[in-house]
């Protein structure tokens, strides 16, 4: 089957194509070069005047795993208030802040997204996460294995084990949990919480293991780099949400000593302590540091005003925030003595000083960071806002007038503390295509996604250009997933199953001897049961594993 997408205006930053009118040809789910004249084209879509981009990629969104399920169970009101009925094609579902798995897949696809990555896949809970993602249709998915507070790793670090051994353990974890990256949440802090520490700064020791978050970051960022994993260490830093945490964040950027780091939901880590209320924007300093340190990338974790729920592995910070939740309930728990979890519902309000300033800080970081290849568009779904608000966020970035109108409605004290109104920058379609496509694919290490070059997977989104960017990005005309038309005029027309992207770095299998001993002595399950196999993911014909090559990583900057 040969499909021609004719005459669309193409934005493909991976190939420096900025709004050029081009034809794209698709055969068997891949983009191919222009066929010979005697080949028959089976189907042509006339896209003249339309905007064509690769399918969007959400590189940080909580769509699977224990904490999302807890959020679902904890918020029956969220589910009752937002039902989606079944149709001839789609299954029913519900939920605004924490939608059910099927609804998640449909809603992503209907917004033109074709891949989404779960950033806190706890290895001990990996099977649950993959099962949930296995129930998420259409989009590709993958996860970052969350380590750094697990006892086996902290024991290695405390015993000053050789870096090679740590590399082997990290690689083993990636294989066992079918991950594409490594995430560290509040480095060492989840564990320190269990030894009754209620805060942990970058150079503060875990009282039990006597290791600092800095050592955790250094060991893991180096391991990820040396294994050749394309996605840099994904860091949810210490002191999330604490006024003055920008200092920690700036120090964290240096903690990897030049190895690449990705600082996630950096908005929550960019707070100063100036002003009468001792809460201010650290966006300028953070953005400047991002501009300077080429080995650092970040996603924003923008908040938007509405009811949502925060779900995180960071039990230490979630415990501290649990009294601020609305409605007032929370779950803070341990996961199999190996990890943590905290779920707190939140309602962000534009008349609340802190929330209004958080909103402004997020946008300031977006607009003050120069390189769109190193800053990514996220709301840390569902922590800042549900992913369905991305079109609104894109409008805020692309339309200065709209942004200033929204800003003028905020809490007045917060307005006085922000420089947002003086920033003139507007993102272009090309910038948006970098942030949500080419840049994200490069960051995650998806070599055949996020671009429209020959050989790429035919994940393509077609929009009608509209000055109202929210309308434009909310409802694409066509979405192709692996060459199949899955969405037309913003509605699902075909349900397919995406791949689960992973990397499989080489490592010395001898490490399994130590790990097995540890499992036999301490763990809640057998080591062999801990591993998620390829077959389990492919079971039931719902997609399968796609192994991305361990190459194309960013160079270490020293």
């Amino acid at each position: 089957m040969l499909i021609k997408l004719s005459g669309g205006r193409v934005y493909d930053p991976a190939h420096q194509i900025d709004g050029k009118v081009l034809d794209i040809y698709i055969r068997d789910g891949r983009i191919v070069s222009r066929p010979r004249d005697d080949e028959t084209i089976d189907q042509t879509y006339n896209l003249s005047g339309k905007v064509v981009m690769a399918g969007a990629i959400d590189m940080h969104t909580h769509i699977g795993g224990g904490k999302v399920n807890i959020a679902r169970m904890m918020l029956p009101e969220d589910h009752r208030a937002d039902p989606s009925h079944h149709s001839a094609l789609c299954r029913s579902g519900c939920g605004h802040a924490a939608p059910s798995t099927f609804t998640t897949g449909y809603r992503y696809a209907e917004m033109g997204y074709t891949a989404a990555f779960e950033p806190a896949l706890s290895p001990v809970n990996a099977r649950q996460s993959h099962l949930e993602m296995g129930d998420t249709p259409i989009i590709d998915k993958g996860g970052y294995a969350m380590i750094g507070s697990d006892d086996f790793f902290l024991r290695m670090l405390a015993a000053k084990k050789d870096q090679n051994a740590i590399n082997d353990y990290v690689a083993w974890i990636m294989h066992a949990s079918q991950a594409i990256g490594i995430k560290v949440v509040n480095p060492g802090g989840i564990n320190a919480f269990k030894f009754n520490q209620r805060a942990l700064d970058l150079d503060e020791q875990n009282v039990h293991y006597q290791v600092t978050p800095r050592e955790v970051l250094k060991a893991l960022s180096r391991a990820v780099h040396e294994l050749g994993v394309p996605h840099p260490l994904h860091v949810h830093g210490n002191n999330l949400g604490v006024p003055g945490n920008m200092e920690t964040t700036l120090k964290t950027m240096g903690a990897s000593e030049g190895y690449p780091l990705h600082l996630t939901h950096i908005q929550f880590h960019s707070y100063g302590t100036e002003g009468d209320r001792k809460f201010s924007s650290g966006a300028a300093a953070i953005a400047e540091a991002l501009n300077k340190n080429k080995n650092i990338s970040a996603d924003v974790g923008q908040i938007l005003f509405n009811q949502t729920v925060t779900a995180s592995g960071d039990n230490m910070r979630q415990f501290a925030n649990s009294t601020l939740g609305s409605p007032r309930k929370s779950v803070i728990m341990d996961i199999e003595c190996d990890s943590g979890c905290g779920v707190v519902p939140f309602k962000y309000k534009d008349q609340n000083f802190v929330n209004a300033l958080q909103w402004a800080i997020g946008l300031e970081i977006f607009l003050l960071t120069d390189d769109p290849w190193r800053i990514f568009l996220t709301t840390d779904h569902p922590n800042g806002a549900p992913f369905t608000s991305y079109p609104h966020l894109i409008k805020l970035l692309m339309d200065r007038t709209f942004r200033n109108e929204m800003f003028a409605k905020l809490n007045l004290d917060a307005q006085a503390m922000s420089t947002l109104a003086s920033i003139d920058r507007e993102y272009s379609l090309y910038d948006i295509a970098i942030m949500t496509r080419a840049g994200a694919a490069k960051l995650v290490g998806l070599h055949d996604r996020g671009h429209l070059g020959v050989g790429a997977g035919a994940d393509i989104t077609v929009y009608t250009d509209n000055a109202d960017r929210e309308k434009m990005f909310a409802k694409p005309d066509y979405v192709f997933k692996d060459g199949e038309l899955v969405v037309k005029d913003g509605h699902v027309v075909k349900v397919t199953w995406g791949h689960t992207h992973t990397v499989k770095p080489d490592f010395d299998k001898a490490i399994e001897k130590d790990i097995k001993q540890y499992f036999d002595k301490y763990h809640t399950m057998n080591m062999e049961n801990f591993k998620v196999s390829n077959d389990e993911i492919a079971e039931g014909g719902r997609g399968g594993i796609a192994v991305q090559a361990c190459e194309g990583r960013r160079e270490k900057s020293l």
């Binding site: 169970m73 029956p76 009101e77 079944h86 309930k329």
Partner: protein, 268 residues
């Protein structure tokens, strides 16, 4: 003006959700629009006149005739008017009732008066489990209003109840007043095991000493003047409780396992 009457035409196979049929939701509609109201029947949405013979004009007085236990959500979120049900009612009778009156001449299934906030529910028959309870997943049950049951009630009556009054003339199943947060439940008949299980605050008024579990403590016999005031407020209610005038009770406190500020008062 005659009451707007919905007479069930045939036996139902699936559950029928009649939440759109309340006086406030139908107040400005004509008979054609009322007949065309879409109701969920199993997984399909069908017009109301598929199920009911509809007659009468007064949308403030609605009558369900020949009603069955498959008819759920009668009086859902109602804010004004009156509903009379002849026959049985399904689950979630008077769900989130805010104001007005619902009278049932028959038996109700589970979750009657669930999350009710105000108004009056009168049941001339029995009710199932979770009378005055919370919607599944919620942490607060009935928030106000009065429920009078002439017959018996099932298990978990007043589960997580927050405020309001439930008066039952017959017997009540086990776990009466479980996890109760506040409010009053009166029972003239017998109660089964585990009364006041996990009760935090609130008052259970009984006429016979029940079997109590270990975390309910006897506090002795008292004369409580507030009971006279409370019974005085019952004078106009269509219930046997309106005849009681007594303030000497044996008092039990509990559940000590959960704050223990609830009380079980047994009339002497």
């Amino acid at each position: 003006m005659s009451a707007l009457t919905f007479s069930l035409k045939q036996e139902l196979i699936q559950k029928l959700d009649v939440s759109p049929i309340t006086p406030d939701k139908l107040s400005d509609k004509n008979i054609g629009e009322i007949s065309a109201t879409l109701l969920w029947y199993g997984k399909q949405q069908l017009r109301a006149d598929n199920f009911f013979l509809i007659s009468g004009l007064d949308t403030q007085n609605i009558v369900f005739d020949n009603c069955s236990a498959k008819v759920d959500y009668i009086g859902n979120g109602m804010k004004t008017g009156r509903i009379i049900v002849n026959g049985n009612a399904g689950a979630f009778l008077a769900f989130q009732l805010q104001k007005g009156e619902v009278t049932l001449n028959g038996n109700a299934a589970d979750f009657a008066a669930c999350a009710m906030a105000g108004g009056l529910l009168l049941v001339n028959g029995n009710v199932g489990d979770y009378l005055g309870g919370a919607l599944v997943g919620d942490r607060k049950g009935m928030r106000g209003g009065t429920v009078i049951v002439k017959g018996n009630a099932g298990e978990r009556t007043g589960d997580q109840m927050r405020r309001g009054l439930i008066l039952i003339e017959g017997n009540v199943g086990s776990y009466c007043g479980s996890r109760m947060l506040a409010g009053t439940i009166g029972v003239l008949g017998d109660v089964d095991d585990y009364i006041g299980y996990g009760m935090k605050r609130g008052t259970l008024l009984l006429t016979k000493t029940p079997k109590l579990h270990a975390t309910i403590q006897d506090c002795g016999t008292h004369t409580l003047p507030f009971l006279s005031l409370m019974f005085k407020s019952f004078r106009n209610l269509p219930s046997k409780f309106s005849k009681i005038n007594q303030n000497r009770v044996q008092r039990f406190a509990g559940d000590v396992g959960n704050d223990g500020k609830g009380e079980i008062l047994v009339l002497q």
